[in-house]
């Protein structure tokens, strides 16, 4: 039987808009995942450290402040430095499609914009984690 999927839901940077992060956290918990919510105002370092400490399968970040092109790449870099290559990196917020494409090209696994059905996020995470675990 597969281990429960552990998801770190994080709010990077100074952005205080946490409605989306909390809704997603609740939905993933209801979908049977173990959710760790970092709370607000996390630096990329704090997020990467939490990912290590909590031994998560997924890092899911929510950014509505426009700082996504700095935050996502920095977290990716730090996760790599810490040897967390297998962690699924996902997230959402106010991110134009063009920027989503750039971030995915940089190594973010998938991003979900406004209007996303949380069941799609849960389904995606389940598949993505299974693939990564299968690859080990």
């Amino acid at each position: 039987m597969a281990e429960r999927i552990r998801v770190l839901v994080a709010k990077p940077g100074l952005d205080g808009h946490d409605r989306g992060a909390k809704v997603v956290a609740s939905a993933l918990r209801d979908a049977g995942m173990e959710v760790i919510y970092t709370g607000l105002h996390q630096t990329p370092e704090m997020i990467a450290n939490a990912a290590v400490q909590e031994d998560v399968d997924v890092v899911a970040m929510s950014i509505l402040s426009g700082a996504h092109m700095t935050m996502f790449p920095r977290v990716l870099e730090l996760l790599k430095e810490k040897g967390l290559d297998d962690v699924v990196v996902t997230g959402g917020g106010i991110i134009p499609k063009e920027d989503m494409e750039k971030l995915v090209a940089m190594g973010v696994d998938r991003l979900f914009g406004p209007g996303t059905d949380t069941r799609d996020i849960a389904a995606y995470i389940t598949d993505a984690v299974a693939s990564k675990r299968g690859g080990r």
Partner: protein, 551 residues
């Protein structure tokens, strides 16, 4: 009345069997059941003079001014700001040239959270969701060519509000405009930060101290200034229902009244300058009822509970912003329609000033084209719809009056709950508001996913494989580089001794009881940066931390 009751029962009986029912929720967006029809039965105890009165008279249900929009239209005040002060100054001039009648400043996250643009925590955030303001130099540029005796300015700033107000006063000084002539608002509503917007710095007690210092200072020196914009907008955006928005916002408002009284001020010296800020969401009539109920509740309690004698203390004046959270990233042109309906609800609700969202805001900050349409939306309502020609035209509607009464009753029920918890700040500490808001947000999301509630283009009437082609506003990393150089230059060119002296004075005042405003002014005049001032206060007051619960 019994004839009417009989007639209604007969009508219901006749139509019951044959009536088809759409597969939809017949509830407001807030989940309140609505009846198919409202009649005089639903407003049987409506005493016109007691519940409605005339506009400009207690209890102000129909409007705060006796002539409302016949005297003067609401202020068209688009919330705006991005990049550096030069960039935003240009956008403000564009908006003023296109008929906007008041300014509203959006600051970037570093400014909001009290960090200078070159601080480590500001990386990636400078100028991206608002304008970067580090010192008086930036403020002077922001209002370059804009006479402060001719415009009113609202500034959406909370923890550092005293600093932005001081900077504005200093710009006025440089322009030769006395602080007594300045008109505007600072949001300065920390209670709702802990509840919803989350852009706090210090814990509640020092935050309230700063707020009462501002109230005291402005009563004397900036008498035309609205010292707080007691906000429901953000509470709603965080996911609350309309009733929660109404109740939590008014509870905050009364908490500020109590704080002012506790600080030794006569309620009539500061209450006339408290103002409000509400959301206008998609359920048309629910929003209108909410605005009317707000006015009535505030008037009654200010007069009867807090003993305010000046009628200006009984007036709930408010700004409205159409609901950002109702907009979609899918088929963004539909947002123009949503914003128009929400704006109309605000006008029918008697708002004093209005911001209409741009249709591309689910993707980026407003482009020039999009904000042009948003502004024109207000102007079409103003000049073409006929709505502003009659005061409170929905007054007397069986539905609207019944709904207004229901909102008031529900609000007072919430007031009781909050009292039981010990008041607003204890309730915040217990997570009361935050939990209700998170649960309402989750419930709404579930409704959408189960298709109990439809959002066009998102969970129904979807355009598969949609390609959104809009020219979005882009703010590049060069903004941060530019601003870092500016703040470095300001630090290099100023009088270091004056800076040190001013900061020392600020620290001493913070540690004691003196009003902080004169010290903020001294700092601003010496080109102390915002981050430096907040840094000193962080040391004295500490920082607020919220437990990471998501319910």
């Amino acid at each position: 009345m019994t004839d009417l009751k009989k007639a209604r029962e007969a009508w219901e009986k006749k139509t019951a069997g044959s009536a088809r029912q759409r597969d939809a929720l017949f509830t407001s967006i807030s989940g309140e059941e609505v009846n198919p029809i409202y009649t005089p039965e639903d407003v049987a105890d409506l005493d016109y003079m007691e519940k409605l009165g005339f506009p400009g008279e207690f209890p102000y249900t129909r409007g705060v001014r006796h002539n409302m929009y016949r005297g003067r239209l609401w202020t068209m005040r688009q919330f705006s700001g991005f990049g550096t002060a030069e960039d935003s100054n240009a956008r403000y001039k564009f908006l003023l040239a296109h008929g906007q009648t008041g300014l509203s400043v959006a600051f970037d996250m570093p400014t909001i959270m009290g960090y200078d643009s070159d601080h480590e925590r500001s990386q990636g955030e400078v100028g991206v969701c608002g304008v970067a303001i580090d010192s008086l130099r930036d403020m002077e540029v922001l209002f370059d060519g804009i006479p402060l005796d001719k415009v009113s300015t609202s500034m959406t700033i909370n923890a550092p509000a005293a600093i932005l107000l001081a900077l504005y006063v200093c710009v006025g000084e440089k322009q030769g405009v006395s602080s007594k002539e300045l008109r505007g608002t600072i949001q300065n509503d920390l209670l709702k930060e802990y509840i919803a917007q989350k852009s706090w710095i210090f814990p509640p007690k020092p935050s309230m101290r700063i707020i009462t210092d501002i109230m005291e200072y402005c009563a004397e020196e900036v008498p035309q200034w609205n010292t707080i914009s007691i906000s429901g907008y953000h509470i709603r955006e965080a996911g609350s229902t309309a009733l929660q928005e109404l109740a939590f916002t008014l509870a905050d408002g009364f908490a500020y009244v109590e704080a002012g009284i506790e600080a030794g001020m006569d309620v009539d010296t500061f209450a006339p300058r408290l103002s409000y800020f509400f959301n206008s969401h998609m359920d048309f009539f629910e929003e209108i009822a909410k605005f009317r109920a707000a006015r009535r509740i505030w008037a009654k309690d200010m007069r009867d509970k807090y003993g305010a004698k000046d009628p200006r203390s009984w007036l709930l004046r408010f700004h409205t912003q159409t609901a950002g959270c109702s907009l979609t990233a899918q088929q963004p042109y539909n947002n123009i329609v949503r914003t128009a309906l929400e704006a109309l609800a605000g006008v029918l609700g008697g708002t004093q000033s209005l911001h209409t969202n741009s249709m591309d805001e689910t993707l980026a900050l407003p482009s020039e084209e999009a904000v042009h349409v948003a502004l024109r939306t207000q102007q079409v309502i103003a000049h073409e719809s006929g709505v502003p020609n009659v005061i409170d035209p929905l007054g007397g509607s069986y539905y609207v009056e019944a709904l207004t009464d229901k909102m008031e009753a529900g609000c007072r029920e919430y007031f009781r709950k909050i009292e039981e918890l010990g008041g607003v700040i204890p309730a915040i500490e217990k997570g009361f508001f935050q939990r209700d808001i998170a649960k309402a947000a989750f419930r709404y999301q579930r409704e959408l996913e189960e298709k109990k509630r439809i959002v066009v283009g998102v969970n129904d009437l979807v355009d598969e494989g949609e390609e959104v082609k809009i020219d979005l506003l882009r703010i590049g990393p060069e903004v941060e580089e530019r601003q870092k150089k500016v703040v470095a230059r300001v630090r290099g060119e100023r009088d270091g001794e004056a800076v040190e002296k001013a900061l020392k004075g600020l620290k001493a005042a913070a540690e004691g009881d003196d009003n902080l405003m004169p010290h903020f002014l001294d700092c601003c005049r010496a080109y102390v940066t915002e981050g430096e001032m907040i840094g000193v206060l962080r040391d004295v007051f500490g920082e607020y931390r919220e437990p990471p619960t998501y319910w």
